[in-house]
């Protein structure tokens, strides 16, 4: 049995108050909370072994380097990557996609080429490609979204062509919760030689990811959504792709030899990791991965599915509330709007009751435009949420209606 209470006990923030009410944290798609083991690992690092890495022969630096590098192996195992050199540490999904889009703009995209994304992408998977296209004369193509919030797969097939140099697609929509059929999309793309980048910001926290099974060419993660500290993330890239891309940021640690006559770079993954990295962040990430490895992730997912089901049923009972995103395959994210109450006002009302949800465009403006709403209210659940959290949400929304309507 999945014991939510014992899991909740490992997340200190879940027993705090917000606005004098017990905190009900339903903004997990924006950022996740951290288990004690992660928090303590960061603390211990600074109290007992802080040192810069990759450059010291002294014990402290050696240990920090080992801890840092061991995380690469751990993460490779976590996502079933073939080699740990395919794991690049970055700041987060935004940096990861910028690294790849910069590389494509520098050395792959030419005038008339196409990059294919979808209408449900996060701005982090739109704007870098707009810029890369502008710089190279390539064209950005967009897979439309259907009324239920799923991708228009017929359109996808007709948009995919020999001109496509990359398909860059979100695994789970942070706005709608839609789970895209990326495995079959990757198969289709590969069948005509198109590489695929998967934005895994929302999927890694919810499900097991096996990059070798998916056979994606790139997969990107943000640590802060994966129960790890802020300021750290991972770019997974197949060796052949990481070899092909040029370095991104340059400076210390990513070079083999610097000379005013010419500089040579390290191999992968080093060539992408310039400067002092977020060492404590990576160490925190390793603890988060270990935490997830101990969890029964299938049960955690089943629990999240139960939360989603209860939330969907509860919200559907509220008059004047409309769910945005009702695809069949959905992760535990619910986005909704009211006829006569703006999402922002919904958020403020819930907040007063200790319930933290997100309101706005969720960095998916084109998607909201497609649904013709300026903003939605979004509740997103993690495995440490419980059915009581769901009930409180639904009850508060009912109370809210009478507050605004009477």
């Amino acid at each position: 049995m999945f014991n939510v209470q014992s899991i909740r006990d490992e997340f200190p923030i879940l027993s705090t108050l917000m606005n004098d009410k017990p905190l009900i944290y339903l903004d997990n798609a924006a950022t996740s909370q951290k288990p004690l083991s992660v928090i303590q690992a960061v603390e211990d690092f600074y109290k007992t072994s802080n040192s810069n890495i990759h450059r010291g022969v002294f014990r402290l630096s050696e240990q920090a380097t080992l801890q840092y590098e061991a995380t690469r192996g751990l993460f490779a195992e976590f996502i079933s990557a073939e080699k740990e050199t395919e794991i690049v540490f970055v700041k987060g999904v935004t940096e990861a996609i910028n690294l790849v889009s910069y590389g494509f703009a520098q050395s792959i995209l030419k005038e008339g080429d196409e990059v294919l994304i979808s209408e449900m992408e996060h701005h982090a998977n739109i704007v870098p490609w707009q810029i890369a296209c502008e710089q190279t004369g390539a064209v950005l193509k967009v897979i439309p979204v259907l009324d239920d919030g799923s991708l228009d797969l017929l359109a996808f097939e007709s948009l995919l062509s020999e001109k496509t140099k990359l398909l860059s697609i979100v695994h789970i929509s942070n706005s709608l919760g839609t789970i895209n059929p990326i495995k079959s999309m990757i198969d289709k793309a590969h069948s005509i030689g198109v590489p695929v980048l998967v934005d895994g910001a929302q999927s890694a926290p919810h499900m097991e990811v096996d990059v070798r099974d998916l056979d994606c060419d790139f997969y990107v993660f943000s640590g802060h959504k994966l129960f790890a500290p802020t300021g750290v993330g991972v770019l997974y890239g197949k060796e052949k792709w990481l070899e092909k891309l040029p370095p991104y940021q340059s400076g210390g640690d990513m070079i083999e030899k610097v000379d005013f006559g010419g500089t040579t770079f390290k191999g992968i993954p080093g060539k992408f990791e310039a400067g002092t990295p977020n060492i404590s962040g990576v160490i925190g990430l390793s603890k988060a991965i270990q935490y997830l490895q101990k969890l029964d992730r299938k049960e955690a997912m089943a629990h999240e599915d139960a939360l989603l089901k209860q939330a969907t049923e509860g919200l559907n009972e509220i008059d004047g509330l409309r769910l945005i995103g009702t695809a069949e395959a959905k992760a535990s994210i619910v986005s909704f709007v009211f006829d006569a109450i703006h999402a922002h006002d919904v958020g403020t009302f819930l907040d007063a009751g200790g319930i933290a949800i997100r309101t706005g465009h969720h960095c998916t403006m084109p998607l909201l435009k497609r649904f013709n709403v300026p903003a939605t209210a979004r509740a997103s659940f993690a495995f440490y949420n419980n059915l009581n959290d769901v009930d409180c949400l639904v009850e508060s929304l009912k109370k809210m209606k009478s507050f605004f309507y009477e």
Binding site: D20, H342, A343, H344, T348, T359, G360, H361, L368
Partner: protein, 147 residues
């Protein structure tokens, strides 16, 4: 923060304005126009003005925005109508004081309705909602279309 604070924020006058805003719609012939966005929440507003010889003769707005923003626009336009730039600037000063909770007896230019925004000081993240119409009107005044 609690229900009382919520009631302070959403005073009935504000809720009323947000449900039936004054001056809502496009102005066919306007001399000044501007759009404003609040990237945080997705609020968007357009403000139309017709200014003749220094006098703000006609006003209107359209918005996809929250109650606070809509009420703020409605109350602002009603207050500013048939006055001039100077009046707007002195009201704007007072308004930002009100949002910070600094209400004093000296406040002359502002209507009673504007004082209803006092409750916002408990909700710092909502200040921008109330300010958006003011900032957009300010931009509009600088955007002389034809004169």
């Amino acid at each position: 923060m609690n229900e009382t604070d919520l009631q302070d924020l959403y005073q009935s006058v504000l809720v009323q304005h947000s449900k039936s805003p004054l001056h809502y719609g496009k102005l066919d012939s306007h001399t000044h126009y501007s759009e404003g966005y609040n990237a945080l929440c997705g609020d968007a507003i357009s403000i139309y003005l017709s200014v003749k010889q220094g006098k703000i003769e006609k006003v209107s707005f359209e918005s996809a925005s929250c109650a606070i923003c809509k009420a703020s626009a409605s109350i602002l336009l009603e207050a500013i109508k048939e006055t001039n730039e100077e009046t707007f600037f002195s009201m704007q000063d007072e308004f930002s004081k009100i949002l910070d909770g600094e209400v004093s007896d000296q406040m002359g230019a502002s209507s009673q309705e504007i004082l209803a925004f006092q409750g916002i000081k408990q909700f710092p993240s909502r200040k921008n909602c109330a300010l958006l119409p003011w900032e957009t009107l300010h931009k509009a005044l600088n955007s002389n279309i034809k004169d």
